[in-house]
Amino acid sequence: MEQIGFWARLWLAFILPWRVLASRALATRIAHAMRAPAEALEPASTAEPEHGPEAGLPELEPLGSESERDQTTALQLLAILQREGRLIDFLQDDVTAYSDADIGAAARVVHQGCRRSLQEYLEIEPVRATDREGDVVTLEPGFDSARNRVTGNVLGDPPYRGTLAHHGWQVKRIRLPELVPGHDARILAPAEVEIS
C-alpha cells in the first residue's frame, strides 16, 4: 500500500474525528483496520508452506515490524500475562532483597497464570519435536536456517551432523482476543481502588 506523507497525514488527523463522528460506516472500517493485526495472523496458521525440508509446519508472518499495530499486540500479550500471572509485578520488582523461598512462592503464581494464558492463546511447540536434545541430527543441504541455527565447528557445505543442543520453540497458532475499538493497550493493568 502506498505510504502517505506528513501533510496528508496532518490533514487526515484534522478531518478524521469529525468524519468518524458523522459516519458509522467509516468508523466501523477504521475500527476494523485498527484491529487488523490479530486477525491477519490467523490465516497464516492454515497456509501451506511452499518449500523447505520441514514441510507440514506452518509459516508465520514475520513479527516485530515497527508499525503501531504490532506494538498493540505485544502490549496486549503483556497485559494478559500481568492479569493472569502477575508477570509485570514480578519483573518490575528487585529480586536481590528476597529469599529464594519468597521468590519461589511468587514464581508459582507467575508460572501458573502465565502458563495458563500461553496455553489459552498460543500454541507453542518445539521446532524439532521428534528429536530429543542430545541426539545426533543431520541437517541436509537446503535446510531452513531460520529454524535451525548451526554453531560450533561449522566447516564446508551441508549436510551437517551435530548434537541437538536445544529443540527450539515456535508458535504454531496465535489467537489473541480481539480488542474493541478505542481500547488503550498501553495500560497493562489499571490502578485498582477498592471502595469500601
Binding site: 502477575r86 520488582d93 529480586v95 503464581v109
Partner: protein, 592 residues
C-alpha cells in the same frame, strides 16, 4: 435447505451451544465470542452464566463491545464472572437456581440478590434470557446465512425443573428473541443421548433388558440424579426415564469453597490472615490443587500460592499446600462420605457455607442425597425386593465427575450398598467430555426427532396436584383443611391430555386461583386421587380470569395437557360449550 439440529445447555454456571449437521456428523460446540477482559473479545466454547453491570464510570465507552453489539453496557461470560467476583453487588449469578425457586418473584427485579437498590437489577427470567440472547447472537454472527429461528432447537433443563420453572424457561426464550419456542429436554437425558451418539449402534450390545441406568450429574452448582430403565417392546430395546431426583444446589463450587475455608483456618492458626481478595485467590488455588490431586497422577500434596493484591508480588505471596489428607477429610468425608444406604439426610443446621436466599441443602453429603433418591425410587414400584434401587450401570456427567478418584469413591459407596443386599455392583458407561456432553446430546436429540433413532421415553417428571379445601364444618380460627387432588400423573408424554372428573362451578368475569403442588417422589397417583397437601411440595399458584358475561356461573373441568415442547398447560374447560380458559402460573412469590 436442510435444517440443522441445535442443542443449547443453559447451565447454572456455564452455557454452551452445539450444532449437529444433518449428515450424521458429531455435534460440534459453537465458539462463543465474549468479553474476557475490559476491551478484549475472545471466543470460547463455554459461556459462564454470569452478568456484570459495571458502574457508569468504571469502564470506557465500548470496552464491553461485542461484534454484534458495539455499545453493550453490561458483560456476560468470562469477564463478568472474574470482575463480578470482586464486586458482588453488580454480579448476577445462579439465575437458573432462582428460576426454580418458588419463594421469590421470579419475574421481578431481584438479581443480584441482596444488592442495594441503586444497583441495576433484573429478574431471573430476564437473566436467563440474556444468556440465551448472547448465544443466539453468537450463532447468528458465526452463521449469518443460517437463521437460528429456522433450525430445530432443543434446550435443556434440569430433570428436577417443575412445570413452573419450565414455563419460565420458555418465557425466557421468547424474551431472548427466539421466534419458535425450543423443545425442552432433561439434562441427564441429554448426557445419555451424547453417550448413545458416541456409541452408535454398539449401545444395543452394551445395554440389555433389565438394565437400570443411574445418571449422576454433578456440575458447578447443582447435582441431579435420574434413573433410566432398559426395556423391550416388540423385540426392540427401549429406554425409559423412570425417576428423577430433587434439585440439589450442591456442586464443584461448594467443594472449592470448602477447601478454601479449611486452608484459611489452617493459615489463621499460623497467624496469617487473608483479606477477601486473597480468599478468592485461595479459592482459585484450591480448585487447581483439587484438580491436580484428584487427577490421573496423584501426588501427596499440591502447592497453593496466594498472591497479595498490591504490586509487590514477591514477599507478599503466601505459600501453602493442599495435602491429600486434607482433601480426603474435606472432600471425601464432607461431600462423599461412606454411609450406609439407610442413613437419613441431615436435618437443617445452617452451615457456614451459605448466606444467600437460595434453598441450599443443609446436608452437603452427595452420597446421602443419592441413597435417599435410590430408596425413594424403590418405594415407587421400581425395584421390588430391594430396599433401594440397584443400578446396573452408571453414567457420570458434569465437571466434578471428571476426577477418577471421585468417580471411584462414588462407585465404591454404591458397591457397598448393593453388595450388602447381595446385588452385583454397577459398571460405568464411559462418557466423554463431561462439560459439553449436555449441549451435544441435545443437538443429537434434535436430529433424532427428525431423522429417527433411539429415543428415551419419560414424560413429565413430577405428579401435579391442585389444592381443594375440604368441605367440613367451619371452626373459627382454624382454616379448612386442604386436599391435594392429582391433575396430572407422573410420566405424561408430550402431546397427551388428561381430564379431572370433578367439576367446579366458577363465576365468569372474576379471577380464579388454585393452589398448585408437585411431587417427584409420588409416582403412582392417578388423576383425581386425593393426598394430604403436606405430602407434596407447593409450587406457584395457577390463575385465570374467565372471560364472558359477568356473573354467569359455568361448570368447568380441569384439563392438563403436556405440550409438544414439554411444558404443562392447565385449562378450565366448560363441558357444555367446549370453551377453554388457560390457567397461567402466578410466580410473584410469597409476598404477593
Amino acid at each position: 435447505m436442510t435444517r440443522l439440529a441445535i442443542g443449547i445447555d443453559l447451565g447454572t454456571t456455564n452455557c454452551a451451544l452445539a450444532s449437529a449437521p444433518p449428515d450424521g456428523g458429531v455435534p460440534a460446540p459453537l465458539e462463543v465470542p465474549q468479553i474476557v477482559a475490559a476491551g478484549e473479545v475472545s471466543a470460547r466454547p463455554l459461556l459462564p452464566s454470569f452478568i456484570y453491570f459495571p458502574p457508569e464510570a468504571q469502564l470506557g465507552a465500548g470496552e464491553l463491545g461485542l461484534p454484534w453489539n458495539p455499545e453493550a453496557r453490561e458483560a456476560v461470560g468470562t469477564f463478568a464472572r472474574a470482575q463480578g467476583a470482586q464486586t458482588p453487588a453488580r454480579l448476577v449469578a445462579s439465575a437458573k437456581s432462582w428460576l426454580s425457586h418458588a419463594g421469590v418473584d421470579r419475574r421481578g427485579p431481584i438479581l443480584p440478590w441482596g444488592a442495594p437498590d441503586e444497583a441495576p437489577k433484573i429478574s431471573p427470567v430476564e437473566a436467563s434470557a440474556r444468556y440465551l440472547a448472547h448465544l443466539r447472537e453468537a450463532w447468528q454472527a458465526a452463521h449469518p446465512d443460517v437463521p437460528l429461528a429456522e433450525q430445530d432447537v432443543v434446550l435443556t433443563v434440569p430433570a428436577s425443573f417443575d412445570a413452573v420453572a419450565r414455563e419460565l424457561t420458555i418465557e425466557a426464550t421468547k424474551l431472548a428473541g427466539f421466534e419458535e419456542p425450543p423443545l425442552l429436554l432433561e439434562e441427564p437425558q441429554a448426557a445419555m443421548y451424547d453417550w448413545l451418539a458416541r456409541r452408535g449402534d454398539a449401545w444395543r450390545r452394551e445395554l440389555a433388558v433389565g438394565d437400570v441406568l443411574l445418571v449422576i450429574d454433578i456440575g458447578g452448582g447443582t447435582t441431579d440424579f435420574s434413573l433410566i430403565c432398559v426395556r423391550e417392546a416388540e423385540g426392540v430395546l427401549e429406554l425409559e426415564r423412570v425417576a428423577v431426583g430433587d434439585h440439589i444446589l450442591l456442586g464443584g463450587d461448594n467443594m472449592d469453597l470448602a477447601l478454601a475455608y479449611s486452608v484459611r483456618a489452617r493459615l489463621e492458626r499460623e497467624g496469617k490472615s487473608l483479606d477477601d481478595w486473597q480468599m478468592r485467590a485461595l479459592t482459585h488455588g484450591c480448585r487447581a490443587a483439587k484438580e491436580a490431586l484428584l487427577g490421573d497422577e496423584p501426588t501427596d500434596e499440591h502447592p497453593v500460592a496466594i498472591p497479595a493484591r498490591g504490586s509487590r508480588l514477591i514477599g507478599g505471596t503466601l505459600r501453602t499446600a493442599l495435602s491429600r489428607a486434607e482433601l480426603d477429610s474435606v472432600l471425601l468425608s464432607g461431600f462423599f462420605p461412606e454411609v450406609a444406604v439407610d442413613v437419613p439426610l441431615e436435618k437443617p443446621r445452617r452451615a457456614g457455607l451459605t448466606t444467600l436466599g437460595l434453598p441450599y441443602p443443609s446436608d452437603a453429603a452427595i452420597t446421602r442425597h443419592l441413597s435417599a433418591f435410590l430408596r425413594r425410587s424403590a418405594e415407587a414400584r421400581l425395584d421390588p425386593g430391594h430396599s433401594f434401587v440397584h443400578p446396573t450401570a452408571i453414567l457420570f456427567n458434569g465437571g466434578v465427575t471428571r476426577s477418577p478418584m471421585l468417580r471411584d469413591r462414588i462407585l465404591d459407596v454404591i458397591r457397598g450398598w448393593v453388595e450388602a443386599e447381595a446385588g452385583s455392583p454397577p459398571r460405568v458407561l464411559e462418557g466423554a467430555d463431561a462439560e459439553l456432553a449436555v449441549c451435544r446430546g441435545a443437538a443429537y436429540y434434535a436430529r433424532t426427532r427428525r431423522e429417527g433413532g433411539v429415543r428415551i421415553r419419560g414424560g413429565t417428571a413430577q405428579t401435579y396436584y391442585i389444592g381443594i379445601e375440604r368441605a367440613e364444618l367451619a371452626v373459627p380460627g382454624i382454616p379448612p383443611r386442604l386436599d391435594a387432588v392429582c391433575v396430572a400423573p407422573f410420566g405424561m408424554e408430550e402431546g397427551s391430555e388428561v381430564e379431572l372428573e370433578q367439576s367446579f362451578g366458577l363465576v365468569l368475569g372474576e379471577p380464579v386461583s388454585f393452589r398448585f403442588f408437585g411431587s417427584s417422589a409420588r409416582k403412582s397417583d392417578p388423576v383425581g386421587s386425593v393426598v394430604e397437601a403436606s405430602e407434596v411440595t407447593e409450587l406457584a399458584p395457577v390463575e385465570t380470569t374467565l372471560e364472558g358475561a359477568a356473573g354467569e356461573i359455568v361448570q368447568v373441568n380441569l384439563h392438563a395437557h403436556v405440550t409438544e415442547i414439554g411444558t404443562l398447560e392447565l385449562s378450565a374447560v366448560d363441558a357444555g360449550s367446549d370453551r377453554r380458559w388457560k390457567l397461567s402460573f402466578d410466580v410473584r412469590g410469597a409476598d404477593s
